[in-house]
Amino acid sequence: MKRIQDFNVISYTWLNDDNYIITLGSETDIECVEPGNFAEIKVPNSPDVFLRRPISILDVDHQNNTIKFYIKAIGKGTRQLGNLDINSSLNIVYPLGNSFSVIKKKRALIVGGGSGIAPFILLASKLKDENTEVTFLIGGRTSGDVFLTDEFGRYGEVLVTTEDGSLGEKGMVTQHSVFSRTMDFDLIYTCGPDPMMKAVANIASEKGIDCEASLENMMACGIGACLCCVTPTIRGNECVCTEGPVFNSKDLVW
């Protein structure tokens, strides 16, 4: 069930100047979260930020009632969320949106870039529970843009590309040698910048592999009430916040 809940800021982990993980705690239970779900976070003490901000759920801990987000500070809201006092309170509406399909006893490729890697920790852990073998392919401009590889390593092989070659193979994710190998994946998951996802979806379709992409969009409500966040699909305009954020790339008109 969707819920509006108050949390306290427990801690920050800064990955570099702009990227951080924020951990929130609550007195009450945390709702069950599926991989791909997101939250609408109210940014406190920020005169410039009027609407909530949609952020994927990185991880939840039902034992300790904590929830984590991985955020890239790109504007006023995401910056202010990285600048709160420990223990200060924060209001979130969650869990929102649909989720990735969790396939059983298969092989999956997960391709992410930028803040698009956030949903993949939860996804990988569910896939592992279902005995699906996971390969990660994470891209960034430089080695400084590639995060969470250690965490991903706990769930499968981690491949990296950087545009400057400072980590892993040099080039864009879609230029990685994994795509020239036998592509015996049953499903490709992707989340990140639109051009990256499109390129990945194209390769998937060429190779006849299903591909699920998690989209972003400008959102007002996050719960399907305003119809602001549509993306064109073969079925017409659909809301990224409710019919998405995860779409089968075959259905997308992009």
Binding site: M1, F50, A220, C226, L227, V230, N237
Partner: protein
């Protein structure tokens, strides 16, 4: 004990708090957050005769204390509403008001005719103020003759309560309000969104696919309150006040200016529970101020 009932041309609302069209879906979207039976009414998402895909994305831009939208009346058409949606939402003990739209007068008539026969729906909101569609929409609401014409046409085919939703993008809103009053409207609701626009200085492109869109939220509250007060002094029919209402105090201000009921719009996005919180807040205000009938507040500004 406070009596929160208000009355729109004979139609009783259990309290003055309703939700604004296009900001509350069909109500269902809020079921997880609030008890919908507590609302005075729900103005559902704008409906048209046939399915509409609405505008391309991006449809939304954040602005200082507000937002622009360019949804463009995306909906599955009136038949889908009547046959599929309404049966699911009629269980709630609250008034459901369809918000109807058209490109030409005939569309409005067709939609109103269909609604006339729906049991349980006691009134409709005639939207002549949507800024986000190329044809019809706001064009009806910014000219007095066309506002009168469409109201008259719908009045002829619709027997229950008609609330005409007015556009703020006009020189003199009282003229339009008087026009639709004369044409048979039972009430007016105001304001719809102000026509606005946003540009991204980095890309140098407009943020919305439609370039212009509708401005809502607290930014427009002072304009809305002014218009409610002007219309209150110009017509006798009840007013449903809309525009940037974020809390019970705002709702009180709209009632003092002359609103019989109010609609909560953009605030639903920021706090999905806000509509019910406002109901509670109105009751508290009345208790604190020893008001036993909330309707005594309507137009109660002391000037």
């Amino acid at each position: 004990m406070v009596n929160l009932n208000v009355n729109i041309a004979g139609l009783k609302l259990k309290n003055p708090v309703t939700t604004a069209s296009g900001t509350f879906g069909f109500g269902e979207e809020f079921e997880d957050f609030i008890d919908l039976n507590k609302l005075g009414g729900i103005f559902v998402k704008g409906l048209t005769l046939y399915n509409r895909e609405g505008n391309d994305y991006p449809r939304m831009a954040e602005t200082p204390s507000g937002m622009l939208n360019a949804v463009g009346l995306q909906n599955k058409g009136i038949d889908y509403f009547i046959n599929t949606i309404y049966p699911k939402i009629k269980k709630w003990d609250t008034q459901i008001f369809p918000n109807i739209n058209g490109s030409v007068v005939e569309d409005y008539i067709a939609v109103a005719e269909k609604l006339n026969d729906v049991e349980g729906i006691e009134g409709l909101e005639l939207n002549i103020s949507c800024p986000n569609v190329k044809e019809g929409g706001m064009a009806f609401g910014v000219s007095c003759p066309s506002a009168i014409a469409v109201t008259k046409a719908v009045r002829e085919v619709y027997d229950k309560t008609i609330i005409v939703k007015l556009s703020p993008n006009v020189t003199d809103i009282t003229e339009i309000a008087k026009g639709v009053e004369g044409a048979g409207a039972d009430g007016v609701s105001l304001i719809n969104t102000l026509l606005g626009m946003a540009i991204d200085a980095n890309t140098r492109k407009p943020i919305l696919s439609t370039i212009t869109g509708g401005l809502s939220g607290p930014a427009i509250k002072p304009v809305a309150i002014r218009m409610v007060w002007q219309v209150y002094n110009a017509v006798k029919i009840p007013i449903v006040g809309i525009g940037g209402i974020m809390n019970a105090t705002d709702a009180i201000e709209f009632m003092l200016a002359g609103s019989t009921a109010i609609q909560v719009g953009t605030a639903n996005f920021i706090d999905p529970q806000i509509s019910v919180k406002i109901v509670d807040g109105l009751e508290d205000y009345c208790t604190q101020n020893r008001i036993t009938e909330i309707s005594d507040l309507i137009g109660g500004m002391i000037s």
